[in-house]
Every structure is written in structure tokens, then in C-alpha cells.
């Protein structure tokens, strides 16, 4: 977990909310005395989790994968290794593991096992396939500050893209973000990559919310073209700061109410989200390309007392790897996208490797319904670019860009993102070295349930949209 601040005001949240928030139980201070009364407004605040996750793991069987090369997702590697999971959790990894009675044993000779891929930046569901206007729900581009919108309310659970990310990419967890038209785009949502009839059925239990923010060209272009603020980068920061100042005031009112009681302040859904950020409950995921703009955002975050968890698309992160590291901020980037707009002009394929060299938290991301199917390949390219520049990053360390690092930046590293015993059994068996172009997922388990098997057509999900269409059920 990169930055979960749990403050006293958190006591105001309801019991159900508490369950849904990261590290709540662990961080809540014990009552000083049994007789101490709660503050007058506590418990009378608003529900922080009105759309709770209804995700449930599907049944699995105790499974032992043997004779595999294991990348544990935290930089560890086991050759001729084995991975055992049962009851939806990782039980053990090692070299010689005796199969428990009744376990399914899969001989993975010549194959690799990794934790499931995590994509911290996706628009599946809110910009789904087919990309028709009727389904284009990713940007509430009607005002530059829309922190009241929640991406989950745009997610169409029938997006065929989820199935491709699973079968071709081994993606088991993903964050769906609002787009970048707005300075404050709204709340993101973390999903398990398991089809459900409702988005609630996909929501990652206990994952904190994120706030999507955006720097640079997109907000100033979108609103500048409408003849309103922001139309410049200075306008971007001005509107950001005015908004944070309001949020701070809003939070003060609620904090006071929760401490002293009285009339509850008027609810403002946009301010709820920002107050959640200021309280450390909601993680800031900030679209920002240029290094100088990231530096401006860092100072702004200090001015108002919040933390940026990760800069996304940070093509110039390599220029300020030291600054990001010093501020405990991650960079989520592509391997080699560059040059498609002015603010991406200085992108280089060594970005990830240079960040790793500096010791900065870094990760791959897709922002793309096709790229999400090949994030392992993107990591391989980034690793190779680093190697050619003299930065040698072992395969099992490069895999952190796909697993534990995005898990940390999503606030779920205690639950998934590596093959540590007790964590969710989100596991991919690859049919070869997953950093080779010739390799694909063979089997994918989520919470220990096998939800994709290349050898079993019945374990290839087909969304409602594709059902009965030409090519339905085809290997895609």
C-alpha cells in the first residue's frame, strides 16, 4: 500500500463502509476506554459505500502446478518450482510441494507461472466494444470538475474486452478510470476480471476508490475549445487549486460535524470524493505526461495535503525519476507509446528501465483494449530497451511492473499482486516464457477458480453482446 492514511474522521463511516476500506480494521485506533462516548456526529455521516461489491469467488479445486518456472510477482523466481493453491488462496510456493489429498496436479514442464496481470489503467466497460456513441461513457466532458461521477456507473459488464484481457493477456484485476477530458474526471473502480451481470458483481472487494485527475493538453483543449476555463496549463492548475480549496473547506465542515454534532452539512457528491482524497481513503490516479507538470502537481498536492499515488501515461517520468522517488509516487506508463501528441513527444522506450534504475515505483499500463491483451509483451520490450542501455533488470523483477507494483498503487497489495501464501489465488499458467512473443496464457485462475483454459472451449467466456453473432465462440 503506497499511501493509505486513515484518520480519526474515518470513524464516521458506517460499518459496511469500514469493511470495504483498505486496512480499516488494522488501522482503527482501539478505544481509549470502554466507557468513552463516540463524538456527537459520528455514525451520522453518509454511507461511503452505497454500491457495495457483490463479487463472489467461483468454486475451485485444490491445485498444484509442478515443474514450472515461477515469478512470484515480488521479484522472486523459482526454477523447477511448484505453486499450490486451495480455497481461493495461495497456499505455498517452492520447489518440492507434496500434493494434498484430492488436489489436481498439473505438470507444467516448460511452462511458467505468475500472478495474474494487473492493469491499473483501463477503460474497458466505460469505452467498450463496440465503440458506438451509445456506449461511449468514459468522459463526462461537460465541465472540467466532475469528481461526482463514478466510473462504475458507466461500466457495461458485457464488454467483450474483458474476455480478451483474460484469455490473451492473463489479466485478473483492472482499474477502470474515467477519461482525461476533465481536470477531475471522477472516481475509478477496481474490478476482478470476472464477468458478472452487474458491475457490483465485478467489484474487487475491499479495494479503495481512486480519483482520476488529468494534467496537460486534454482538459485545456476540451474546455478551451468551448471558450471557458481552463484553456491553458495555468488555467488547469488554477481550477485545480480552487477546487481543492473548496474541498478542504467541505472536509472541515464534515469533520466538525462528526466531532461536535449539530446540523449535518449539505452533501456535495463532488466534494465527497475530494474529501475522501484529503482523508486518505481515495487514491489519486493522475494522468500527466510532462515532467514539469508532474512537478507542479506534486507541489499542489503538498499545498492541500493530499498524496498522488501514481502518475499515469507519465512518458517523461524518466526525467524526474528522482523527484518521484523522493515523493513516494509511482509512474504507470506504456512501453513505447510516444510522439502521437505534443506532450508525448519526448517518450522513450527506456522509461520503465530508467525508473527502475532510480528505484522509483514503476509499472506498465495499457489504457487500451488491445494493449491490455499484451501487457507481458510490453514489459518484455521495456526490459529489453533497458538492457540495451546497460540496465539489466532480471525477468522476475521486471514482472513486478505487472503485479505487485500496480497492486500497491491500487491499495490491494495485501490481497493480490503476488504468489504469497494467503493472497488471492490469481494465477496464470503460461505456455512458455511470458516475456516471449510466442507465449500465451494457457490457464487463468481467479480466486482459485479456473476461468480460462486454452484447451477447453467451454472455459472461454463469451459476453452477451457476442452471443449469436458471426464468429461467436471463435478463438479470438
Amino acid at each position: 500500500m503506497i499511501h493509505t492514511l486513515v484518520r480519526a474522521s474515518r470513524a464516521a463511516v458506517t460499518v459496511t463502509t469500514c469493511l470495504a476500506l483498505m486496512a480499516c480494521t488494522a488501522s482503527a485506533p482501539p478505544p481509549a476506554t470502554a466507557s468513552r462516548a463516540p463524538p456527537p456526529g459520528a455514525g451520522h455521516g453518509y454511507n461511503h459505500d452505497p454500491f457495495p461489491s457483490t463479487y463472489h469467488p467461483y468454486p475451485g479445486v485444490p491445485t498444484l502446478l509442478t515443474n514450472v518456472t515461477v515469478y512470484d510477482g515480488e521479484g522472486g523466481r523459482i526454477d523447477h518450482g511448484a505453486v499450490l493453491f486451495a480455497d481461493g488462496k495461495i497456499v505455498q510456493i517452492g520447489q518440492d510441494i507434496a500434493p494434498p489429498a484430492g488436489a489436481t496436479v498439473i505438470d507444467g514442464t516448460g511452462k511458467w507461472v505468475t500472478p495474474g496481470v494487473i492493469d491499473i489503467h483501463s477503460h474497458l466497460g466505460d469505452y467498450p466494444s463496440p465503440g458506438v456513441k451509445a456506449l461511449s461513457d468514459g468522459n463526462e466532458a461537460t465541465a472540467p470538475v466532475t469528481s461526482e461521477v463514478w466510473a462504475e456507473h458507466s461500466v457495461w459488464p458485457q464488454d467483450p474486452g474483458f474476455s480478451r484481457a483474460l484469455a490473451n493477456g492473463g489479466v485478473t484485476t483492472l482499474e477502470i478510470l474515467p477519461g482525461s477530458a476533465n481536470l477531475f474526471g471522477g472516481r475509478s473502480v477496481v474490478l476482478k476480471n470476472v464477468y458478472a451481470r452487474t458491475v457490483q458483481g465485478m467489484k474487487f472487494p475491499g479495494a479503495p476508490y481512486g480519483l482520476k485527475m488529468a494534467c496537460g493538453e486534454n482538459p485545456k483543449r476540451v474546455y478551451g475549445s468551448k471558450g471557458r476555463e481552463p484553456s491553458t496549463r495555468m488555467g488547469n492548475i488554477a481550477v485545480d487549486r480552487e477546487t481543492w480549496a473548496k474541498a478542504a473547506e467541505y472536509k472541515r465542515k464534515w469533520d466538525k460535524y462528526e466531532k461536535d454534532g449539530g446540523d449535518p452539512p449539505t452533501r456535495d457528491l463532488a466534494m465527497d470524493t475530494l474529501a475522501g482524497v484529503l482523508a486518505g481513503e481515495i487514491l489519486v490516479q493522475n494522468h500527466c505526461y510532462r515532467s514539469d507538470e508532474m512537478a507542479n502537481v506534486i507541489d499542489m498536492s503538498k499545498e492541500f495535503g493530499y498524496h498522488v499515488t501514481a502518475f499515469h501515461h507519465a512518458v517523461e517520468a524518466y526525467k524526474i525519476a528522482d523527484l518521484l522517488k523522493a515523493n513516494g509516487i509511482c509512474a504507470a506508463v506504456w512501453a513505447d507509446w510516444y510522439g502521437f501528441k505534443m506532450e508525448s513527444y519526448d517518450g522513450i522506450p527506456e522509461n520503465l528501465a530508467l525508473l527502475q534504475k532510480e528505484g522509483t515505483c514503476a509499472m506498465i499500463h495499457s489504457d487500451d483494449q488491445n494493449g491490455i491483451q499484451r501487457l507481458n509483451q510490453e514489459v518484455a520490450k521495456a526490459q529489453a530497451a533497458g538492457r540495451r542501455a546497460g540496465i539489466d533488470i532480471p525477468d522476475e523483477v521486471a514482472w513486478e511492473w505487472l503485479s505487485i507494483n500496480p497492486a500497491k498503487a491500487l491499495g490491494i497489495a495485501d490481497k493480490t499482486g503476488s504468489l504469497k501464501p494467503g493472497k488471492m489465488a490469481d494465477v496464470v499458467l503460461w505456455n512458455g516464457n511470458p516475456l516471449s512473443v510466442y507465449t500465451r496464457p494457457e490457464k487463468v485462475w481467479i480466486d482459485g477458480a479456473m476461468l480460462y483454459d486454452a484447451n477447453n472451449p467451454k472455459l472461454r467466456p463469451v459476453s452477451d453482446f457476442e452471443l449469436g453473432q458471426p464468429g461467436s465462440g471463435d478463438v479470438k
Binding site: 463496440p130 516475456l435 486454452a454 453473432q469 458471426p470 464468429g471 479470438k476
Partner: protein, 432 residues
Amino acid sequence: MKALLLAAAALIAAPAFSATTAIVGGTVAIGDGSGPIPNGTVVFTDGRIVAAGARVPVPAGATVIDAHGKWVSAGMVAGLSTLGLADSEGVEESNDVSAGKSPFNAAIDIAPAINPNSIILNNERWGGVTSALVSPATAGSIFAGQGAVITLGVGPDAVLRPRAFQYVEMGEDGAAAAGGSRPAAYVMLHDALAQAQDYRHSPAAFGGREKDSLIKRPDAQALLAVLDGKQPLLVHVERASDIRSVLALKKEYPQLKLVLVGAEEGWLVARDIAAAHVPVIAAALVDLPESFERVAATESNVCRMEQAGVTVALSTVDASAPGSQRNLKQFAGNLVAITKIPGSTGLDWGHAFASITSGPAVVMGMDGEIGSLRPGRRADVVVWDGDPLELASAPVAVFIGGQPQPQSSRQSELRDRYMNPEDGALPKAYQR
């Protein structure tokens, strides 16, 4: 590796070396569909390939480059790109890909706009792309205009073949450009070709200069080459039924030299495409129903079309990522990968590599000139540090027209400047 790098560097520093070069000991990939040849030799002289393969003698006096442990291949040919037409596509001022406010369409000829000094060309060249089809894009008409085939070699003469093809949209994009429907797109197409005939029969009587002319005079003039089959007509369609409709155009215009672009549902009508002898510049690795005209998209499409006898080249058409042509090799590698997936149809290595080298050249009828290491072709040769289709592999030397190409780029200079992000004794701006 060091010897090779030194050799390549020496070549750049001193162009007055032996006119004949032999690259020996590497795994040779000719690009014509054949498999890789271990311990092969590639010989070129005066900018042309002399021979490539196993047991090729090294001519006396040749400059010899040792490529043991390396791969030596034909350079990649980008199947459809905008290389040289924009410094940054998102920067409108730098972008010559389309012209929404122009009254002209089919007449647009991108050749004079190609900028060989674009940093993007530099990066693509150093990624192993040695030539490219370059196309305009539509804006306000179904016709985009005339594309070119270019070389990425350093120098002023980028254009190998100007006005190499005409590009037209006939699917959903064509419908939108024609006013809102596919039938309207067909009316626009037929009318344009009819007016071209009118122009041919009586240029003096043909107007086409009036403000409300549906077809301007230069557009009608340009379409004659299409009507006569002298200039291939690249037609972007995806849906199976759209492909059939386009193939049917040949009944009315027997001279048309059709090339399909995209064709994500091509596998559903692969036999028809093959029977019509129409090649395809395919969307390489798309597998999502990103629009209703692409509901049957699958990564197996390319291979299924090839098995039916269709000539297929790969491209970044329909790729949602920015179209870096140097990633074509990744697409081709994935088409090999899926041979291991039950139910998928993949390519063998030789055909996958051909789809990004000789494939586009064959589509353009230029395979005698570019796209492979067969004798007589331009010496567009890339030496790689491993299997070119692998993700980790990259060029260690690039020759275009026999000339060694520079090994640095703006990207590598940025990398070197920020290898350590901290400022030094002077600001970064002084470090180069």
C-alpha cells in the same frame, strides 16, 4: 557483437570502403516466406542484393561483417502508414495526413509532403523498418487521395514510387464521409468514376471547377489511373458483406486493381477474396468487435485468409495504439504464437516474417524491388541481435540501399541525457 558494431560504425565513418559487402555467419531471413537459414551469408553491392542464403561465396575484396550469433534479414516494409506526413499526428500544424477543408480529394498526392528528416522516420528506421506504404486519410470524401511507397534511408530521395495507389473508404467510415450511408458511398464512387470517364472523353467540355462540382477536375483526372488499373485502388472495408460488395465492383470495372485494407471479417469470405485475386493489407492483430462491421474479428483472420490463398500483408490499420511501424514484428510474432492455441490458425515463422517484408511489396507489385533479400532487390538489410520477431530483439545495424544508417536517434539522445536524472555541473540543456 562488438566486432560487428565496430564494423558498422566504421562503415558510417568511412563510406569509401569496398563496394561489395558480405555479412557472414548470421541466421538469414530472406523475407520471401522461407524459413530462417542458419549460418548464412548476405552479399550486396552497389546498393543491390547479390545473393543471400547458405553456401553463398564471399566475393574477393568484399568488406566482411561477422554476424555470428545474430540474425540478418530483409528490412520491414510498413503495410500502410503515415510515415513522413506528420511530426506528431496530434499536432495539427505538423500533420499532412488529411485535409478536411480542401475542395480536393482523389487528386491529393502526398509525395511532395514527405519529410525524410522526421524524427519518427529516424526511430522507425532504427527499429528495422526500411520502406513503407504511406497513405493519406479521408476527410469529407470517400477518397483520401494518392499514397506513395517510400524508403526510410537517410537522404533526400525518400519517394520510391509516387502516386502508388488511391485510397478509398467504403465501410462505416465511407458511409459517414458520403453523407450517412453505405449506399451513398457507392453512389459517390460510381459517380466519381463516371465523371472520370467524362473527363477522359472530353476534357475541354468537363467542368469540375465550379464551387458546387461534386467532382473537381483534378480529382476526375486522378481517377483515370484507377479506372485503367494502372494505379491500385486500396479499399478500406471490414465487414464480410462489404468485402463482397467491393469484390463485385470488378464486374462493372474489370480493369480495377483492387486491394482490400483492414478486412477483419475477411476469413468469412476468404475464398471469394482468393478467387478474385485481390490482396489484403490486413489489420494485424485485432480481435474485438470494436464496431458493428467488425463483430467477427479474430487474430486468426490473417492466417485463415492466407490458407485460402489470399496474399496478405500486415499493417497497423485499426490498431488502437499509436502506429509505431517498428512493432509490426511484434504483430507477426503473435501470429506465430497462436499456432499453439487450439482453435486458432497461425502462421509459420517464414510466412509471418514475409507478411511484414515481401507481403506489402507483393501487394504493390514492387517485390522485384523491395521486401526480400532475393538477388536484385534493394539492399535493405537489418542485422538483429536475435530473432527479429522476438520482443527483446533489436537492430544492431541497418543498411538501406546498401548504405549503413545512423545508429542514434532523438530518443537515444534523450535517454543518454537522462541516464541520471539529477542536474550536473550545468543544466541538462548543456549535456549532449
